[in-house]
Symmetry: C2
Subunit: 221 residues, 2 copies
């Protein structure tokens, strides 16, 4: 897939350790498509507030949703917000404590809030969010009715002003510490792993775990 | 351990789905002690910015650190910031897409920034951060020298104004969807799992993986 490179503005330019900045648009999609939780920062009463929330991506748009009554989504149209998705890959053990680090992939998005009003786009956004959270579920579970759709607020963020930062590899120790062999050094990988599905206590009817759920936890390949 | 309950202020009061709010101080410590990455939100040029960073907790203080030259840590003393740590436990599959959800534990901290100036507290904070990131490493690896310590900025956030939100259990479906058995429902647990350590390519001297690293990934019990 060919994608235009990211076009970072001043605030989305990675300043610290520029070698970790990635300007490939596919890298942004990869981080967003591999995460499940984003952290959304807004300003409330003059102070920053950050809250975790689910999301979904469709092309150049990140969709967020919540209850239409939620305080956290009462953000005026066009207000600048910031969202981050971070994937931790490993802890980096170095010879000196100064060089301990983490390997990670992170995406940070700066965008004005767009409230999704049209019912057709809200339905589309919910599908994107649900399919991101639980692939295969939209066609399996009951679709939202008018009342449920009306109770759901959807926000859209344009992905144009985004940055991606990646650290990978081993520790960046001082040469004299490497030569002296003062400590063990390496990385300890960490990854998010799915466990076996746990059916609901009150499950009736379709009690077999469906293929789309089994596939996700590696039991249905 | 007896802890004073959290004393939420207006902005740290959980508004949406109050049943998920937890006011037990030990719950805050448990979330912070089980996470590795926090998302720190600050205001820059009138817009919110959120960035991932490591941290460590000592009692009622959350310590963050970074390069003394880092743009992201240039925050004036006393400026209000917000930090969140989120642990994802499972994806909740419901009978209707409206009720899809996530089980999670999250902590949100509102606090004015305190710059840690005294060398003794900075050294202590770095120890707390490194021991949180990689338990057992402070006494194993080389301690920071004066130059490294001078190159490190440390911020402290007081944990008094914090909130904890937890969702657990199965889907909250509509009774008619449960009775009709319209779809499979349950939870798909997800957890962060350590893999086997990968030694650095240029490892000299202490080449055996030390016990404190093996213990972490479950190989040294």
């Amino acid at each position: 897939m060919n994608r235009a490179p990211l076009s970072p503005t001043d605030r989305s330019t990675v300043r610290r350790v520029k070698s970790r900045a990635v300007t490939d648009r596919c890298a942004l999609d990869a981080v967003l498509d591999n995460g499940l939780v984003c952290h959304l920062a807004v300003i409330r009463d003059g102070a920053p507030v950050v809250l975790p929330t689910g999301y979904g991506r469709d092309g150049d748009t990140l969709y967020l949703h919540g209850s239409a009554g939620a305080h956290s989504l009462r953000i005026a149209e066009g207000t600048e917000v910031c969202a981050a998705v971070t994937l931790l890959d490993s802890v980096v053990y170095a010879r000196s404590v100064f060089h301990f680090s983490m390997n990670y992939r992170s995406a940070v998005i700066h965008a004005p809030v767009r409230h999704v009003i049209a019912e057709s786009e809200r339905l589309h956004a919910l599908r994107v969010i649900v399919e991101h959270l639980a692939p295969g579920s939209w066609s399996h579970a009951r679709e939202p009715n008018r009342k449920e759709l009306a109770a759901t607020a959807v926000l859209a963020l344009d992905l144009t002003e985004s940055s991606v930062k990646v650290r990978s590899g081993g520790p960046a120790d001082e040469p004299e510490d490497v030569a002296a062999g003062v400590a063990w050094a390496g990385v300890l990988p960490v990854q998010a792993v799915w466990d076996a599905p746990i059916p609901a206590d009150d499950l009736l009817g379709r009690t077999d775990v469906p293929a789309h759920v089994l596939r996700r936890c590696g039991a249905g390949r």
